[in-house]
């Protein structure tokens, strides 16, 4: 496997959908290529960061509307 192939199948690798044989080739490449190790590490870090996007403070009007809706719903 070369690096240009690795960057194209990384999503299947990380999603666990890469066929066994390709997974082996992928891992074998990583053992030899520190650059691709960096690449995979950056992709993992990116995914972690996406999962941690902070909650924007919801505007007061939106919050009021939602709470109002919730109270209405509660009343039935």
């Amino acid at each position: 496997m070369d690096c240009i192939e690795l960057v194209e199948i990384i999503t299947d690798y990380l999603e666990g959908t890469l066929p066994h044989h390709d997974r082996e080739r992928f891992n074998a490449h990583l053992r030899e290529c520190p650059y691709c190790v960096t690449y995979v590490g950056q992709m993992r870090a990116t995914l972690r960061a996406l999962g941690e996007i902070p909650v924007e403070s919801i505007s007061d009007t939106a919050k009021e509307r939602l709470l109002h809706a919730f109270r209405e719903w509660k009343r039935g």
Partner: protein, 240 residues
């Protein structure tokens, strides 16, 4: 000798919980649904805080602007509240919530006569080839190691994850997401922000798993690439 019952009976001696994470999540979710049904305002505020951002990003994939997306989410919450009594908990609460957001967003997009239906966006955004990384960054066929890096990625500091969690980088990450093509943005929001599994995403969006994965791959590769450019520029600016 009398042994006082431990307050932390759910923990074993090595501090690990007996429950698996999935079981914990299920218990948490059941408790949350019960609180919502009983009209607990705190539970409602908490669940809004947890999902609001991801819901807005998902809705944004279908409608023209942020304000409409927020409106769609508002509508979705009403749908969620009204459906709560009937929710049987066969799937997860989260999948159900996002399926409702997608439905409302689709309806709104149709009603507003958005010029491009989602299916057209999908074919547009999955067509052709779109290299994950600029091909110029790899050695060409004449080199000794063709297809290997000529301009390899540079490490993002000693701890790339810590580096990304800076608030400025997070703000940049949101701008990067906004710049993605809409179908790619929707898929990456559902998968990586909302943490939905592939099957739920395909069902909610009505797309094939292959297309889902192409959209996800293109979106993720772009986000990593944009972060790389941003972090390199910031570092250069800091040095000069």
């Amino acid at each position: 000798m009398f042994v006082k019952p431990s307050k932390h009976r759910h923990k074993s001696s090595d501090g690990r919980k007996y429950y698996t994470m999935a079981e914990n999540r299920e218990t948490d979710e059941r408790r949350l649904i019960a609180s919502l049904r009983s009209g607990d305002e705190c539970a409602f505020t908490a669940v809004v805080a947890r999902y609001q951002v991801a819901m807005t990003r998902v809705a944004r994939g279908f409608v023209h602007d942020e304000a409409t997306a927020e409106d769609v989410v508002q509508e979705a919450w009403l749908g969620i509240l009204n459906g709560l009594a009937a929710f049987e908990g066969r799937g997860s609460l989260k999948s159900w919530i996002f399926a409702i957001v997608v439905n409302r967003a689709k309806t709104r997009a149709t009603r507003e006569g958005r010029s491009t239906p989602f299916s057209s966006l999908v074919s547009l955004e999955t067509s052709g080839t779109e290299p994950a990384v600029d091909p110029d960054r790899f050695l060409d066929a004449t080199a000794k190691w063709p297809g290997h890096w000529s301009q390899p990625p540079v490490a993002w500091g000693a701890d790339p994850e810590a580096c990304l969690l800076h608030s400025e980088t997070m703000a940049q990450l949101k701008r990067i997401l906004d710049d993605l093509p809409p179908a790619q943005r929707t898929v990456i929001s559902l998968r990586d922000i909302a943490g939905q599994d592939a099957e739920s995403i395909c069902n909610a969006l009505g797309i094939t798993e292959t297309n889902m994965r192409v959209l996800l791959h293109r979106a993720r590769s772009k986000v990593r690439g944009s972060l790389e450019r941003y972090l390199t520029n910031t570092e250069e600016a800091a040095r000069s």
